[in-house]
Amino acid sequence: MSIHISEHAFDPWQEIAKHQKNSSLDNQFGATASFVGTMRDFNDNADVSGMVLEHYPEMTERYLQQLEQQAKQRWSLLDSLIIHRVGVINPANPIVLIACWSAHRRAALDACAWLIEELKHNAPFWKKETGHHGEHWVEKNTDGF
């Protein structure tokens, strides 16, 4: 179980590979599910050229740790990894990575989908978008569709 809040751009695929290599998962897991949220260059049909992500550091850390613990209690997870960007973010930058490892597929898939949903709804992060028309705070997250 691992959580990183990063002020720097990260490559989600390298991070998954690195985490897997450095963990004690060898040969025990049969399933890895992951989700990556990436900054698009448009949102609600307005051009967005950049973004600043603010957070509440102590609460973010605590909340994400609680989420991982809840996921571990609910599903047979062997490991999980959550990485979230903060600070200045450019289009095409990954914002969030969730990865879950389990013996069988349902635990990893269901836990991964649950974690991103909970994170989106409750983790104390806030996006401010910048574009041609100045900057504005994103009022609320989409429902995912």
Binding site: M59, H84, H121, A123, F125, W126, W137, E139
Partner: protein
């Protein structure tokens, strides 16, 4: 009694305060009223006490940290 207060994101910018300390308050609502000089609470305002989501009528204690913020938009 000393209560640490924090404001985040659009709320922080709107009221122009990022942190405050208030001396006497019994609920999170009191803290809001004291720290913002009775500003109207925005719709969907959220509150956390000691890093956990809380309600505005929840009691607070000396040394607590109270945070107010708008709906979250991470991920």
């Amino acid at each position: 009694m000393s209560i640490q207060v924090k404001f985040f994101a659009s709320l922080r910018e709107k009221i122009g305060i990022s942190e405050a300390k208030v001396e006497n308050a019994t609920t999170a609502r009191d803290v809001w009223n004291i720290a913002t000089n009775n500003a109207k609470q925005p719709d969907n305002l959220l509150v956390a006490i000691n890093l956990d989501y809380a309600k505005f009528d929840d009691a607070i204690n000396d040394g607590d940290e109270i945070a107010f913020f708008p709906p979250v938009t991470g991920g």
